[in-house]
């Protein structure tokens, strides 16, 4: 409960204090972040998750398919801390590799979402008029459908595989960043420093790259931080449904699905991968919330 207590001080006060001590914007951000205990918990979780995921080849040097035939469906023990599955494969190894897959998918998905959303949003907000009308309408059509409908549909149409899961999830999640950047550019366009850049004859693309984008950076960082847990959930959900499967690499949702048949007795096959999904989503969400509060204290919803 002590972690929740940290939210008590009003953000406005923190903001003034941080200002008073002077320093760069990033130091203010860092100070606000440091004071938020939940955000620190999130950061610690994320670091732990990254060590587990990206350290998978070190944790499981023999890979994720090594079978211990004397220990099939073993409960957690010193030898197999999270037990083994129905083929005697170590659950910790498989979960570590599953975490690795889900982290890679989540990060790449955000990359795809930004690659589509940023330029479209920037153009819509900057040009306005007909261009904006078309892009806004496209956003409207995409928002009329839930993300998983789009992703499942795309995966059923294109070939399965990791690359296509990333593409499907990316296409399903570009709307958020696009809308954000559009709104940001819309208001930036009328501000004085942009006007003066135009007045001294800077080209549009230079103004966008050098002046507008850096000012739109904060919402973009926040949207990426919030997008990662959504993508982790998306990847886990799709692999749980058995969609987009093909590589032999274990995926967390798939592990849960495999374990369900044994759930009544061998609960460790379900609870550990499920708990891992929950931890990843929780960690990144807390970190994202913390970043948002630190970067933009006015936006806090609490």
């Amino acid at each position: 409960m002590s972690s929740a207590t940290s939210e008590a001080p009003a953000p406005a006060v923190q903001f003034v204090q941080a200002r008073g001590r002077s320093g760069s914007m990033w130091r203010d951000v860092f100070n606000r972040f440091k004071r938020n205990k939940l955000a620190i918990v999130g950061l610690a979780l994320v670091i732990g998750i990254c060590i587990l995921g990206f350290g998978a080849p070190i944790i499981a040097p023999e890979g994720f398919n090594e079978q211990d035939l004397g220990n099939i469906l073993a409960m957690p023990s010193w030898e197999h801390p999270l037990g083994t599955d129905y083929l005697g494969r170590d659950m910790l190894d498989r979960i570590a590799y599953g975490t690795r897959t889900s982290l890679i998918v989540a990060i790449l998905t955000q990359g795809v979402a930004l690659a589509i959303g940023l330029p479209l949003g920037a153009v819509a907000g900057w040009r306005g008029g007909t261009t904006d009308w078309f892009i806004t309408r496209t956003i409207d059509i995409f928002s009329a459908l839930p993300w998983y409908l789009i992703a499942i549909y795309l995966i059923s149409v294109i070939q399965p595989g990791m690359r296509n899961i990333v593409i499907a999830l990316g296409i399903a999640s570009w709307v958020g960043p696009c809308r954000l950047v559009r709104g940001q550019f819309f208001s930036l366009r009328q501000q004085e420093f942009i006007l003066s850049a135009t007045a001294i004859g800077a080209s549009s693309s230079r103004i966008i790259r050098r002046h507008a984008m850096p000012n739109a950076l904060t919402p973009i960082i926040i949207s990426v931080a919030m997008g990662i847990p959504a993508a982790v959930f998306g990847e886990a959900g799709l692999s749980f449904l058995g969609l987009g499967l093909s590589p032999p690499t274990p995926r967390l949702g798939q592990l849960v699905q495999e374990g369900l048949a044994y759930f009544m007795v061998f609960w460790h096959m379900v609870l550990f991968p499920a708990g891992m999904i929950a931890l990843i989503v929780l960690g990144f969400t807390l970190l994202g919330d913390g970043l948002r509060d630190a970067l933009d204290p006015r936006q806090t919803i609490r």
Binding site: M1, S3, A4, T5, E7, A8, L38, R137, D140, I141, S143, A144, L145, P146, Y148, L149, I152, Y153, L154, I155, S156, V157, I158, P229, F233, A236, G237, F240, L241, G242, L243, V256, L260, F263, M264, W267, V270, L271, A274, G275, I277, A278, V281, L282, T285, L286, I301, R302
Partner: protein, 310 residues
Amino acid sequence: MLGYIARRLFWILTALLVLSVFTFALAHTVPGGPYSYGEIPLSEAQKAMFRKQYGLDRPLWEQYLTFLRNAVRLDFGVSYQSPRETVVEVISRTWPVSIKIGGIAAFLAITLGLSLGLLAAYNQNTWIDYVVTFLTTLTITTPSFIVAIGMIFLFAVRLHWLPTSGWAGPETWIMPILAMALGASGYVARYTRATALDVMQADYVRTARAKGLTEPLIATRHVLRNALIPLLTIVLPIIPGMMTGTIFVESLFRIPGLGSWFVSSSFKRDYPMILGITMLWAVLISVTYLVTDILYAVVDPRVRLEDVQE
């Protein structure tokens, strides 16, 4: 007002049209068809027969026009995976299941969320507030099917109170409903708390208190009523989202609803079914947003509808 609604409806129709072109084109550009998932390999002649039977041998634009003509009359053709039923029949068989579960879940999520949010707001910075904030953070961040798995472990595997999955009687409804409702209730609670705190500091609440109204009266007449306005935009879209079936929860509990049917349709390339469900989904969500915007203007006379549009 009427002009605004007419314009919005016109736009919804256009969007549906564009969406149908997209979905249709994408579904038909991939190789394979209704016959490619069968266990028994089919001869070329049989494939040609199937193609002819479903009209897949005609040019794409002609197929689309046929689809459109029929769709206007709510005829989406025959489902490939259960050829004895039309798409509309399958939907009218599976949707009520999702509506029942989802409707109860939405009701639960909204009432629970509103009361928890108000409770937290009225006890700001006390232990009640912290407990609520902690719980809502937890329910928002935990994916619904993970919550469901936790509940299955607790109530089915350990305590043997409830069946693990299936669709038989009310005892099989409890866990799916809770799994759907908890996340959404946390979301509602968080926004309720924030808006209620905003409203509680408003001048008219201070005035109400100053003229000696009792606290319960202030809470219901002034705080809740005003807090409900911004909440509409959060709360209303939850309803169609739940009533169309949460695919993960439905798949996990093996509930024969619209969501799990959509998943099996994507596995089996059941294009008529996919198109039908996609259209239904899009119509519901667009109409909900329209209704939300209209209600917003009705309950809050300060809002002009043209402003809401953007």
